[in-house]
Symmetry: D3
Subunit: 246 residues, 6 copies
């Protein structure tokens, strides 16, 4: 008898593209001004340096292992293992977010699982814990945001997968299934799905002078003049703008 | 519109009494031999020294606060605050078990809440976090197993109550609503409700020589002879038994 | 050449008395509603159970020991030791707040220092670290809010006193010299001196039904009816009020 | 076949008495001046408030459990369990020092073990970890310096006893079998056996004015005058000395 | 007078080669099914990404520094420094495993020591702590599994080398001298020498379909069909096998 | 009204060059022998592998955020934000050292700030916390020694900049404005400005045989013979010296 789990709703492609242009730092800053104090999943590090991933969250929740509740061994009746079901419900463009309770001795996914996820078009995983088979996993081309790696399998020590597509606490951050994740080398940020339109609108407003200012600062320009752009420097910026190719 | 939460099933009084005779240390040891590796909710300390509490668990789960999900302030529309509902579902003899995420800056309950719980016949609370109003709470006569105390109210900083009578992870231990809690100065232990009968049967088997051995050891008796009771000492024990009043 | 340190300003006695009636829990809750997210000095525990202390903060800051900056041994030229100067500047009713960097291997004050402080009328100490000579210190009658105790003296290991009556970070909480401290068994709270009048005004507003509600709840009354006091129960409360002696 | 373990050498009774007069705070301070940077076993707390214990260390070392090295269950072949052997080698006046690796889920000794130790005249235990059966153990009259308590038995989770009367690292402090322990409400200190005579000599030198100074300070006397005793106050002290009964 | 230390026994080359084919993840998983709960030395990270090392463990144990037990400075009488002796006892193919107590302020080995080790044919070091001279050490070609790096020398702060080729607790894992280490980018695993034959036998049994399944999953194949290989997919696998070159 | 902050004194270029030749490991070791126990800023990691930076410290101190003391939002009145002033006072060759209280949820500087710093000739930053915009910052060519990265801005959560060019505690190490920093892949070390001449003199004394010994060790030479260089090997070294080109 299969385990029934509800699928997430996925946003329009334009929303994903909009977020991807912004990056995690701008997303975090703007969300803060919109009332979300801290959307950063602290302590989860980029294990695939340079990767960027933006997409909706499929969630997986681990719980402390209790032997009367979890009896299966890794290979018997695989369908009972809920970490597989998280991947069954993932689609192209998705990011799997795992509350692994910060545990450093369980490899939530191994390379076969992650290969399957890659085969489906998965973008990345954000785990409050570890994967195993990192030597192979880092070659797959998906993004890995983790606390670490371990050779241990997912239920080897103290935790086991308990639920799929439920609200989870990943690195002390609440993530609802279908929320959007923006992850890069700064870290991973959760964008509540209900706030993404307002976020994109706000985030699109400043910035047009930013590249100009960056150049001037690199040449030794004055911070007071160029960041944020001072009115005195606006004519200079307008001139510069004209020199830029389109 | 009231929030619907399922009530827990409560065991026979005899089960509670049986567990109370055993204590947390025997419960933990026997459970381990029955396959439960570690039923102890580590890091939760007795804040009412000398108290013992045995009863079924009403559970309350906190989640990391996210401002789009939790907007209420403490006094507006109290019925929206789920920590109240945990107490609504508590009955005489119950123990409220809270997954407060180990947070040291939120007082899960204050003295008014705990007074209400006491008024209903509640036995105690086991919290992976703090209460506030401890100066008054410790006088109420209920048992308090906590990580600490704080003057802050329950949603003052980083967490908020999220669900009642769901499985929770309290101090890295899985507790299902209706499981039994045995708590004393050694700490708090969870007994899976499905295992309590077998536990009582096993735990009742040894022990009859324990008081005898304790006396002999205190008089300087040999550990090898008295603990566990050696066959050579059995006649001495039989003699001693006859001298005991009934 | 003596070390010059500015004295703190001390508030009117009525302010202290007002705060003392309120207690740390109400102070923390009301400050939060006034915009101070978390005034609780987390992790500092009451080592003199039952004690309450309210008074202005004289501050002492420790820094990591660096051997070129701190050369003195404990008994040579005592006047160079700044922890003494903190006490020189304390007066009757004061509370000494120490940023000891959370260090568990330095006893910031020993019993002679604390005896002197008691002799001057000092109320208590709040230390993000330890004292030593606790067996004697706990008998002095001053309040002790600490992280722990140690037999080591104040500069024995990694830290040394660096400044007196400067802003300090005590248990990750900013305390300015002259701010007010409210400390009891729930913990220690800092009240910015500029906010104390507004705090007292706000905190004095509710409460008159609290004792009534507490009694009803203890008798098994309904939480929805009595906390907060429901309009339906107001007549019952008014009746009760009349029965109270003045 | 019994496990052979070497016994410790025990010092003269006078040495123990001398140390007992000094207390842990003076011992720690003087040892520091003699070159031992930090003799305090940090993080080990007094669980029998008010108790003082001074005596030689019998040591017990735990190691991480590895199932091929530790197979026994608690009750089969008790003689294979090394925590018993530590107690076999203890004598009246001894203190058992345990490196339990700071583990909070193993009760190194239960009440039967501690009762046996009490029966032999044991003074106390200093454990970088927990005991179980604390409700009974605290009534035995021995001193308990611990990190905490647990209902779990000694090998229930991650550690097992590995060696007796070997050098151990207790709370990140090196303790050699036969070293002296001074433990009170400030904490527990190790005194290397080779340094105890020099320590006693040094520690006996100051102090004669301490009680006088303490009285004056409590009356509001000046710290600069009385601690350390200033030459100007020496005549006053001499007068006071004459008034003291012998 | 030289310090006598017993050498370890080294296994046949075929054993090493067998383990090297398996990798740390399979070793950890199979050991778990053979009864070893957790052979992973948690928290020790690969500081030479991509390196793999398999070999017998020469062990080195650090203890907390106590000034009466450790008096030497780094350059006087180098033969008294036990970290040198660990290297004297290392041979080609060995891995040095160090219990450095998790300390982050002591560089257990510097580049000269590691160069000597490399010169002898050493494969790598696994340290529950740090090395120094990492800029040079990472170029040597040996594998480095560490908690971190530091410019400090080995006895600069709180620990000193105490014993060679004794059982050690490295990252809370028991390692006996002569046990086998399997270390790669997932981390480092200890294989008890007495279990290695059984491990190799078990680990050699599955796997023949793994590469086939990996390819299919990467092409978007169904997890249920390919991992573990379903009977329905076996004919497809047999076909695939025939297409593989030998 | 501008905030007045004193500038640091900068040493001669020859001092910087001398320190750069030595590296952090030698600096740490020699400082230890000169009486500075531990000059290493532990826990701060190189985020620009391979970079070396030596220069005087401009310091910036963060404090716990208290809403009555810090009210500004990031973009209003930038001149009130003290992290900018730290950079105003930086000059070519400087290193900015930040006490960010070890906080992992505040990005002390973003890419515009760091670009400005680079434009002025800044060498690097050493932060007991995080930066944001790491994807861009790591391309700037300045050295980054950090605890981590975050997308959050500098005052987004719990801390705010409080003072510039005051003594700071960075990673539990005292740094005075104008002290010298030596940072490389081993970590970052502080050299008190008053000790740098003596350090250079001491550090220049050994070493001439080091490269010779390194070569011999790599060829399998005996540690006892070559490190430190034994008298027996001196003739061999002298021969080798002659073969070296100048």
């Amino acid at each position: 008898m299969p385990i029934q789990i509800e699928d997430i709703q996925r946003p329009d492609k334009s929303v994903i593209e909009g977020l991807a242009e912004i990056g995690s730092a701008t997303a975090a800053g703007v969300l803060n001004r919109m009332g979300i104090r801290d959307p950063h999943m602290r302590g989860i590090l980029p294990f695939t340096q340079g990767k960027v991933a933006v997409g909706p969250a499929v969630t997986l929740q681990f719980m402390p292992k209790r032997e009367d509740q979890y009896k299966a061994d890794e290979y018997s009746d695989p369908e009972l293992q809920l970490h597989r079901h998280a991947l069954y419900h993932a689609e192209a463009g998705d990011i799997v977010v795992v509350d692994a309770r910060g545990h450093m001795g369980s490899g939530v996914f191994g390379d076969m699982m992650l290969t399957y996820f890659k085969g489906k078009g998965g973008l990345g995983v954000v785990i409050d814990g570890c994967i195993r088979d990192y030597p192979k996993a880092k070659e797959l081309g998906i993004g890995l945001w983790l606390k670490g790696t371990t050779p241990n399998f997912h239920t080897q020590t103290d935790i086991f997968p308990y639920a799929v597509n439920v609200p989870v606490a990943c690195a002390d951050t609440l993530v609802m299934p279908g929320d959007l994740i923006v992850a890069d080398d700064d870290g991973a940020v959760v964008v509540p799905i209900t706030m993404v339109d307002a976020l994109l609108e706000r985030a699109g407003q400043h910035h047009e002078w930013e590249e100009f200012s960056r150049q001037r600062l690199l040449q030794g320009g004055e911070l007071r003049r160029y960041y944020p752009l001072h009115n005195d420097a606006r004519p200079e910026f307008e001139e510069w703008l004209k020199t830029q190719s389109h």
